[in-house]
Symmetry: C2
Subunit: 230 residues, 2 copies
DNA sequence: ACCTGAACACCGTTCAAGT
DNA sequence: ACCTGAACACCGTTCAAGT
């Protein structure tokens, strides 16, 4: 709506005006095609045909940019929970599964999420939905409020961990190093590890995710918060 | 006139031979004095009076180096749990609190831990101890094994998140952005957020950590794993 | 107000060559 | 076997200067 000066058309085909939205959209595109590692100020500036310093008018720093990219991706989360039944618990499970899936597709973002929490509209919509479903459990208000945090944190941390693991299994990555270390342990000095050994390493990712969800929901709904006498 | 080359002792005293141990110890020292951000291959090489490429004989990459630093720090965790009573639960709480405290003192390491899981002796000792205490709950072997993972993940993720929050509160950091966004939410479109609003943001860090521990322990001990018919 | 070039102060990793 | 110099291909952020 602003009366801008008439843009004189040059050879270069309409370089769009810089804006936060345009920067974030470009960042999402670069992320999808080349990964979050390429979403750098310099690379984006190049993509937007300007210098890196120009971006700082719209974006505080790289972490904030990554948080904005994450929020944008959060638009893909299915909030309906229609894969679940009518049960609030199964609906909540479906929403959390969808959230987890989005992060698993872009695992580097999960790491970013733990560092710079998003605060955009899609994040708020997600929190709203989880709160709504979890409060149907009948648990106290404080438990529900704190519980949402735990559910999101657990899913995010799991995706962040998996992000390393999914690298090619050929490379001596750190997860395999941990598995090897647990196997190589001495039964005399580490009897508990030895006793729990297959289980410590076993279990499919979906099984573990499903169990984690149940652990948290069971724990959240049965554990009153410190202050409130609910 | 052949100049006899004799190692005249100059100011520089006895450059010690490179070794993995020496590299990691130096990394820990740099981390303590200047933060993990300065623990880079180049900086370490400088500190060790060599070129960065030399380090690659002993360390695969930067992530592995950071994992080694973390394992070294894990030596500070109090495994006795003597702050707790005779109860396995209070002892376990004390161990987890000690672990959390160590990570809170070096929060950047918590982020590293989520990415590159450690596998050194101190990590194994910690896992052994938590397994031992948690199995005293009488829960099934699978629950205990998977539960240890959850307890460590929760504490680590919490420390990692806090690491951002603890930066100077003056700066418009992302946590404050989230708080602001939650406050600014419209009651019509986000009724659940509005209804849960003070609790969503409230609560001291120790209270939340204490509650998280109880949620997990309660959930772990009461939720059987998918396959096993315990 | 918005945008920029140029600079400052760094990075990880590889590789051919030396000892 | 171990170690290195040099190079390749990048980074984030600031700031004085321009429009």
């Amino acid at each position: 709506m602003t009366a801008r000066r008439e843009p004189i058309s040059r050879e270069r085909p309409a370089k769009p005006a810089l804006s936060r939205r345009w920067i974030v959209d470009t960042a999402v595109r670069v992320m999808r095609s080349e990964g979050l590692g390429k979403v750098t100020m310099r690379r984006l500036a190049q993509e937007l045909d300007t210098g890196p310093s120009s971006l700082y008018v719209y974006v505080a720093n790289t972490a904030e940019l990554h948080a904005a990219v994450l929020d944008s991706l959060l638009g893909e989360v299915d909030l309906t929970g229609r894969d679940g039944g009518g049960d609030w618990r199964e609906q909540l499970r479906a929403v959390m599964t969808s959230y987890t899936q989005v992060l698993f597709e872009h695992p580097q973002l999960a790491r970013a999420a733990l560092v710079a929490r998003p605060s955009g509209e899609n994040y708020l919509r997600l929190v709203e939905r989880i709160l709504d479903l979890l409060s149907q459990s009948g648990a106290g208000r404080e438990q529900v409020a704190w519980g949402v945090d735990k559910l999101l944190q657990d899913a995010t941390a799991t995706a962040a961990e998996q992000s390393t693991r999914e690298h090619d299994p050929a490379s001596g990555d750190d997860w395999n190093a941990t598995v090897r270390a647990l196997h190589a342990v001495d039964a005399g000095t580490h009897p508990a590890i030895t006793a729990h050994m297959p289980a410590l390493i076993d279990g499919s990712v979906p099984d573990r995710i499903r169990w984690s969800f149940d652990v948290l929901v069971n724990g959240i709904t049965h554990t009153p918060v410190p202050g409130a006498g609910d």
